[in-house]
Amino acid sequence: MSASSEALSKYVTLISSDGFEFVVLREAACISGAIKRMLDPKNAFQEASRAQCKFEEINGIVLEKVAEYFYYNYKNRNREDVPDMEIPPELCLELLMAADFLDT
């Protein structure tokens, strides 16, 4: 795929350490600074050319929550009084680490 064509690809794939794949709207996923940089065609990473990111340190359960957050954020990007997203307390720490890594 050429750089110009995947700049147009609307969706990107996020792969967890245990092999789960999440196909997410690019615009939503790019809320994360890390993913945005990974997928930036200017940086010419492998991720950018394939439009998929593999996270060796994030498991499927956490990545699912991350993907859910991406859409929650995307949906509420221009709103006020946004209700907080529910986060199960048991996932909290792992999710926090993931959030730190992903820069969201």
Binding site: V66, Y69, Y72, N73, N76, R77, N78, R79, E80, D81, V82, D84, M85, I87, P89, C92, L93, L95, L96, M97, A98, A99, D100, L102, T104
Partner: protein, 736 residues
């Protein structure tokens, strides 16, 4: 005789008046409260007239003395019968006359019925042709139906008759309409939809008339003041935008049955007595008590909750705005940390959380007053080198001692509101071999001077950062004198809200040769010489210089101008001596690279007798401001010139002119700068593309300004007080 009847029903029975009144009472004696005497007089199985008048049947009686005619109207809703019973005083021997043409055509006027009545009727009427024989098999029916059936009257027949009459009336109406070439009142162009509860037994002509009346009433309502007022209310909390709809709702409300009348429940159809508290259902009809309860239960919790949380939400939004948090979805990290803080009692260990996160978590816990002796353990991990407690008010001395016990490797300790960090804790700390590189204590006013001396002598060698806030009567000149000897590596020194240090003690700071960050804010009156001495001593290496409430004059500014070459952050506040020219000289041809942080709030001239004039050019004013922005505008990120009231409008206009750009500026406080107006604020937003927060308290020239997307404007004075406004794009935010 018929003419005396005010009722317009077409059917009529002729009965003896007192018989009927008696009959009614007899009917009632069938009930549980009836006396035996009455039952004996009118046995229930007798053929005498029995009229059971249930509560829901409306019974009216009129009497006209001249004609000796009684009229009783019984509306039986269930059977849809409207009967007009006209009674003639036949008992007195008068002949009942049924010579009215109306009566003759009326098939409901049944002669056998009359003949069976306990009255003397001399004028038997022949049976009508359409009468059916009585049925053999009957279901349960009301007493009235029973009675009527026994006289060959039946409901079906009556309905058929009514329909036939209606048809006739309609036909005649249409004929009239056709003759007049008038449009049919029931055409599709009817502007007002039929109400939910359609009237039965209504000819089209009647319904048209009723609709016309309704329209008139609604037009009247629309014009009324009460309606306008109500509509404003509706608009404020609910969407009742359509005027017609609102007027109709209002109309139907006013047409609703009054309290104590009966009505059919909209939901279940049961009849019930209307009370002032009867609720309206979805279609506007009233609900019975049972259905009201159900509805309340269904939505009650949500309705109540919404009302309570609305205020809290508004406050939260305002609080966030003032904290500079732009409304919108929070980032994932914040969400996680907040969830974690909520469930902190479930947590056993934070695992490998990065130090920056632990710090944030600690801050949020402290903000919620959750940092208790139980939770502090989460932050004390062996091998940890940093402990930050933003609010240690609920910790005891033993808890502070525990910090040193659990984390023997601690290097950086920052405690705020650490009142219980007292001699006992200091003694314990001095007895350990822990070497702190950073100690930041806030509110530890129970450590005496002797302990401070011991601290500097025993632990001073490794100390790089020392910050002390609010020590009340402790920590004075002697300690400052000791520091240069015992703390050779000190690079950051902050002593604020100190009540003991004087001019004499300050001079010793000049000997702290490695100092790069210096903040002094002491309560005792001070003057320039010690500060000049400090700046001459450590000025060249200083990166931060903050002097709060120091009574210094222009000589300090000159010293800064000559000595300092590495300042990034400069704060000189609360001063009524420094002059505008002094500031201008400081920032003109200054060898120092551009600043990133400047805070000169309350450097201004105040004279209550002559508030406008500033003849001596005291304070940070136009000259200084222009020189500052020329020198540092490129890199400034934080500007606080709050209360610098003599900066002129022209000066603001020149600084934020169309060709100026301040790309790094993210925060600016221009409160109480009287010259600031809408134009200036607009220019600032234009000139500072990255400005996040602009504070403009007390600037009465700022009234109605467009706030670009993603920016926050705080402190717009309005007559309404606290106010949130979306702008044209609904993007920027304003907090009052």
């Amino acid at each position: 005789m018929w003419g005396s009847s005010t009722n317009k029903q077409q059917g009529g029975f002729l009965l003896a008046a007192d018989r009927v009144s008696e009959a009614c009472s007899v009917g009632r004696t069938d009930g549980p409260g009836a006396s035996d005497n009455e039952r004996n007089r009118y046995p229930t199985n007798s053929r005498s007239l029995r009229l059971f008048v249930p509560q829901h049947q409306l019974c009216t009686s009129t009497q006209s003395p001249s004609t000796q005619t009684h009229s009783i109207t019984i509306h039986h809703c269930a059977l849809d019968i409207e009967i007009d019973i006209q009674i003639i005083a036949a008992e007195r021997g008068e002949q009942s006359t049924i010579n009215s043409p109306q009566c003759k055509t009326n098939t409901r006027c049944n002669p056998p019925f009359l003949s069976n009545l306990p009255l003397r009727s001399n004028a038997p009427v022949p049976p009508p042709n359409g009468a059916r024989p009585p049925r053999q098999i009957r279901g349960p029916q009301s007493a009235l139906t029973d009675f009527l059936a026994s006289h060959n009257i039946n409901a079906n027949q009556i309905r058929q008759d009514a329909n036939a009459r209606r048809q006739a009336a309609l036909a005649s109406q249409q004929a009239v309409d056709a003759a007049n070439d008038a449009p049919s009142p029931d055409s599709d162009s009817d502007p007002i939809p039929a109400p939910a509860r359609a009237r039965r037994n209504e000819s089209k002509a009647q319904s048209a008339k009723r609709k016309k009346d309704e329209e008139k009433a609604i037009a009247k309502i629309k014009a009324s003041k009460q309606f306008q007022r109500r509509r404003k209310q509706y608009n404020s909390d609910e969407e009742m935008s359509d005027e017609d709809e609102a007027a109709r709702a209002f109309f139907e409300e006013s047409m609703a049955p009054l309290p104590d009348q009966t009505e059919n429940c909209e939901e279940c159809g049961n009849r019930f007595t209307v009370t002032p508290y009867s609720r309206r259902g979805e279609d506007g009809g009233l609900l019975c008590q049972k259905c009201t309860k159900l509805l309340d239960k269904e939505e009650g919790a949500a309705r109540k909750k919404r009302k309570i949380t609305a205020g809290r939400q508004r406050r939260q939004i305002q609080s966030n705005l003032l904290d500079g948090i732009y409304p919108g979805a929070k980032d994932l990290m914040t969400l996680c940390i907040e969830t974690l803080a909520k469930n902190v009692d479930l947590a056993e260990d934070f695992g490998d959380l990065p130090a920056s996160m632990v710090e944030r978590l600690s801050a949020i816990l402290c903000k919620r007053r959750l940092l208790k002796p139980e939770t502090i353990n989460l932050f004390l991990r062996p091998g940890n080198d940093t402990v930050v407690v933003t609010d240690g008010a609920s910790l005891s001395s033993d808890d502070y001692i525990r910090i040193f016990q659990y984390c023997p490797t601690i290097k950086y300790l920052r405690l705020r509101d650490a009142v219980q960090f007292k001699n006992k804790v200091m003694d314990h700390f001095l007895a350990t071999n822990i070497t702190l590189e950073k100690l930041s204590l806030h509110g530890a006013n129970l450590i005496d001077d002797e302990r401070w001396d011991r601290f500097f002598t025993e632990k001073g060698t490794h100390l790089k950062t020392f910050q002390l806030h609010y020590t009340d009567g402790h920590f004075g000149d002697e300690q400052l004198e000791l520091m240069p000897k015992t703390c050779p590596n000190l690079t950051r020194l902050k002593i604020v809200h100190n009540q003991k240090v004087t001019n004499k003690g300050l001079e010793h700071i000049a000997q702290l040769s490695n100092l790069t960050h210096l903040t002094i804010g002491i309560y005792n009156p001070t003057n320039s010489p010690p500060y000049v001495k400090i700046i001459n001593g450590v000025g060249p290496s200083l990166r931060t210089l903050c002097l709060d409430k120091a009574g210094v004059d222009d000589s300090v500014l000159e010293a800064i101008h000559t000595n300092c070459q590495n300042i990034q952050k400069l704060r000189l506040t609360d001063n009524e001596v420094l002059t505008d020219q002094g500031f201008a000289n400081l920032f003109t041809n200054w060898y120092n690279p551009p600043l990133t942080y400047i805070n000169l709030h309350k450097c201004r001239h105040i004279d209550s007798t002559d508030p406008r004039d500033n003849p001596d050019g005291i304070g940070f004013a136009s000259l200084g401001f222009e020189a500052l922005m020329a020198h540092s505008g490129k890199t400034l990120r934080y500007v606080d010139i709050n209360s610098c009231r003599h900066i002129s409008l022209e000066s603001f206009e020149r600084v934020f002119a169309a060709d100026k750009k301040y790309p790094d500026l993210t925060f600016m406080n221009i409160s109480f700068c009287q010259a600031v107006n809408d134009f200036v604020v607009g220019s600032i937003f234009r000139a500072c593309p990255n400005l996040k927060t602009l504070v403009t308290f007390g600037n009465f020239g700022v009234r109605d300004v467009r706030v670009p997307k993603g920016r926050i404007l705080i402190g717009v004075p309005t007559a309404l007080g606290m106010q949130i406004e979306g702008t044209e794009d609904g993007e920027g935010r304003v907090a009052g």
